[in-house]
Subunit: 427 residues, 3 copies
């Protein structure tokens, strides 16, 4: 099966599961991922201190509804798990609408959409429903309300896929796994991360790769707090989120601003010929907030398409399977692979004949360069690599200075390295 | 009395006094300022060497006029002190118009305006008059000319108002006091400086404040030469001049270009929502020329509204009481107070929980944040302060990085500092 | 004879000579230059290793033609030396057109123009001709082909003109001398370089000047390899090429990007009021490629008018005597002289009275400053020089900071240096 079909199938399969920051939804999700990629799953018990936070009780839910007095389910968790505010406390009672309505939430301006709400750290309960559904309630009636959930000591679950490379230096790729039936916000990131892991698993790797699938915020914080000593090995990283919608790519820089990962994304996006934007780091968004907190400060950016909070479907039932497009998933995967390829190949070389230009013709370096503008570009790339390979410029530095695509510079470096003219600087 | 009325009243009272770089006009002026702010007045005797300069003889003037032979005063110093070129030598004689006219100066293109002229370091005499007045002279007549002035050994006078703060580090605010009946150029700066001193006198002060009221150039040079050992305590400073007209504010950077005073003015002006401009330092203008000379090189900028030499009323009788607007004086005062407030509060803090985001909810930090965009901005400010409080970013650094107003960042820092999350870095 | 006439006459005289990277054409050319400027001529024997290159056999040519079987010369080297591919091996034979045509080269789209081709390091032969000439060949006929050339051990020739100055620090000016009958590409650079050398020979010189006239690439490399120990004395330099056509000046920065030579050209061009462009260094072009190779890395830029490869006449017979304009040659010379003048005069001074502004009036520095805007500019220049002469700003730094022409700043510095206020910093 082609990766695009596998990504779409994975999203479709994961969509109905009711995930939250703890509970069986995350475990089911990770079990499915483990079918295709190696995954170590960790459980962090309720009450464990993770930096400034404490793992809460585990939340699970079996059923929830609002019935009228005839027994008809007006709101039914079985039909849509967004109907229950995540982490709602258990409840079973009859109450008048005037009391119930304090616990009902709708999405203003979109009468058919059901919003997504959570109340992780504040004990309460609630239902999310569409404005049209709300209109069907009788203000003078009573309703039977049931939330068959549990909040008990248990654990928070995260998964980690590690692919060792030639060096212990790591590339960190992270996706949150705590959203219920939302397709772009959550599942698209998981699907692209899994496809990346599959692709990298069978490829030669200079770097080691670590994929983290953890609940947002407290999950990433848990992983960080349990892996502090490993963080020094992280050279590059990025968070994947909202990568399935039809917008162009937005890359959000790491807190370092000009880390190699930032420059790699900029270079690939600039030469992609596709609309895109690059935004500066801000301490708001997804788990880059944690990776870029001042005491951690990893070179970790964030790749998105539409930006969280800025598209109407965000955190509503309209972020459904239709909202995610196969071609966007493929494009997101492709850009990530190009960035990783760049990181893998971005080495520094030394011109062994740095006084005057070396004679390229006698080494056959002008042969097979093709014709016209391609030939000219290849020839220029040879000259740029020789001119800037003074030990202080990486191939990405040279590509940026030359205004040429990284691949063209890399080809030139390879051709030169096959002669006596260029040597790899061991780093 | 409200500060705007006090500023206007002060300007009206000071306007008729004939000031120059030495003489009783400056003494009278400083005596009036001493009625409302503490002021130490210094006299620098004629002949004293101040850096490259020497204090000249003291100039005073009682009367001056040009009469026709019927005894009618055509030009009368008693009506407008601008009529006499400042530092004119004493004179009493009858002379033909052809001789007199070599000593008459008008303002080209403004037939009703009388220009302002000086001849401090070149012994001579002259009268300034309007073109219309000049037209009334008879080219063939003789005139009685009198300048009842004196040039004698005496002293140059300047005043200093010092408001001690918690630290001996100083903010220097300087205005020139050597212009006669000119309202914007000179008196507006004095009035805003006095209002600032009044406001600061009763406020808590981290910094100490030093206000210098000195004649232009040689007065500031005198102050500098007599206070060299104190200059190392000056952390920030600005010159106040032409701050009463109706134009938007122009801030001229210090020679340091990005001193904290420069960044403070830029920040306040940018967030003021008012038209303004920021110009680079140049060694031409007011006493910032002296404070920014290479051997002194203090971080001292200059706040103006219209820029000297660029508005038609400049150095003419049209720079009169009508030219200065109360609302401009108030706005100038207000911007200065905001800049000073920023300097006072611009401290560096340390995030005590720098690994991952700390949990704000459990500390009640999300409460009372208001609604909608205000709430969002406050929440962002909390996150920015935490993210950048790594010991190397001041609150102003954070405000600039976040693109948020300083006050919002300061509020967030205060809220965080009330918990265990943020500590002030002692500097 | 005025320099413009001498430049034009030199180009006209050199035009017919058949130059290549070795051979008598270069020798003849250098002999002519030696008639007006001191020139040391060096010969580098065939087989000598120069960095990565080896001096090839020497190429000379006496005659070449293609005759039809009636004996009529269809293509005649005597009429235009571009007709023979440079470094063509000797040949004398009759061959059918189908075989001959593999060795014929035309210029696409310009039916009357003959292209310029070389084959230095690849033994082969060929003829260049216009498309119209090619159309006259009979596809079924045979032709008598003769190239009366020789490829024998000999040497590569270059010339060097050294003008000693007060200091052994050098300005390097380089032109290639390897192109046959091409006027702009090659001869214009030689002519301007010779005129510069003539002008400098009789002028006082702080710097020493070294003019290199060498065949492109291998000639510059030869000179570099034989003068490595001298290179440390080169403070500034530029390559002159294509400086006779009607386009505005293009200056290509050195690899240092902001070397003093780069800043000098930028300043002079910006204040010239003429259209011009400044482009970044790239490792493609003329001998700046060699001077800016990473193991040499001299601060050497390149001055051109039209850029090689971007104008249709480039490397064709249309780059002839008509293509070079006297007024462009004069303008190129003038800009070079202004740049050199700036380098000569760009010293660093120290304000001896750095505390406050010194009193300029008492030293007569305000006298003779002219009127209006000129006076204002001169006064500003005095103040800028005083303000920035703190030991870390050269006159060029000051001119750039002030936004004033270098000459105005230099005049001010001279006036101040005639008083006690300014001293030259010995460097």
């Amino acid at each position: 099966m082609h990766s695009v079909d596998r990504m779409s199938a994975l999203i479709t399969r994961l969509f109905p599961i009711c995930r939250s920051i703890t509970g069986n939804g995350v475990r089911e999700t990770l079990a499915i991922l483990r079918e295709t990629i190696p995954l170590q799953i960790d459980e962090v018990p309720t009450g464990t201190k993770v930096f400034d936070w404490t793992i809460p009780r585990e939340w699970n839910i079996r059923d929830a509804y609002i019935k009228d007095t005839t027994g008809k389910r007006l709101i039914d968790f079985q039909k849509l798990n967004l109907h229950v505010v995540s982490y709602s406390t258990p409840l079973r009672c009859r109450m008048p609408f005037v009391e119930l309505k304090e616990h009902l939430f709708t999405s203003a301006g979109n009468p058919d959409w059901v919003p997504y709400r959570t109340s992780y750290y504040n004990e309460s309960w609630g239902f999310c429903l569409s404005e049209n559904q709300l209109a069907q309630f009788d203000p003078n009636a009573e309703y039977d309300v049931c939330i068959d959930s549990s909040l008990k000591d248990g654990s928070l679950t995260y998964g980690e896929c590690f692919l060792p490379g030639e060096t212990p230096e790591e590339v960190l790729i992270s996706s949150h796994v705590c959203h219920p039936s939302l397709a772009n916000d959550n599942l698209s990131g998981i699907a692209v991360a899994v496809a990346l892991a599959e692709a990298l698993a069978t490829a030669p790797r200079r770097y080691s790769y670590r994929f983290v699938f953890a609940p947002g915020s407290i999950g990433a914080i848990s992983w960080l707090s349990r892996n502090e000593e490993r963080l020094q090995m992280v050279r590059h990283g990025f968070v994947l989120t909202c990568v399935g919608d039809s917008a162009g790519i937005t890359y959000k820089r790491s807190r370092h601003f000009k880390a190699e990962i930032d420059r790699a994304f900029l270079h690939i996006l600039r030469h992609s010929g596709e609309p895109h934007q690059v935004v500066n780091f801000s301490p708001y968004g997804y788990d880059e907030r944690q990776y870029c907190s001042p005491g951690i400060d990893l070179p970790v950016g964030c790749m998105m398409r539409s930006v969280h909070g800025t598209f109407p479907e965000y955190h509503t039932s309209a972020d459904n399977l239709d909202f995610v497009r196969p071609e966007s998933l493929v494009n997101s995967l492709e850009q990530c692979l190009q960035v990783i390829n760049l990181l893998e190949l971005n080495r520094t070389y030394l011109n062994n004949s740095p006084k005057g230009e070396p004679q390229l013709g006698k080494r056959g370096l002008y042969q097979g360069l093709g014709d016209g503008s391609t030939r000219r570009q290849h020839e220029l790339a040879l000259l740029w690599v020789l001119n800037l390979s003074d030990g202080s410029h990486s191939l990405l530095d040279i590509a940026e200075e030359a205004g040429l695509p990284f691949a063209t510079i890399k080809d030139a470096a390879d051709a030169l390295a096959r002669t006596d003219l260029l040597s790899l600087v061991q780093s």
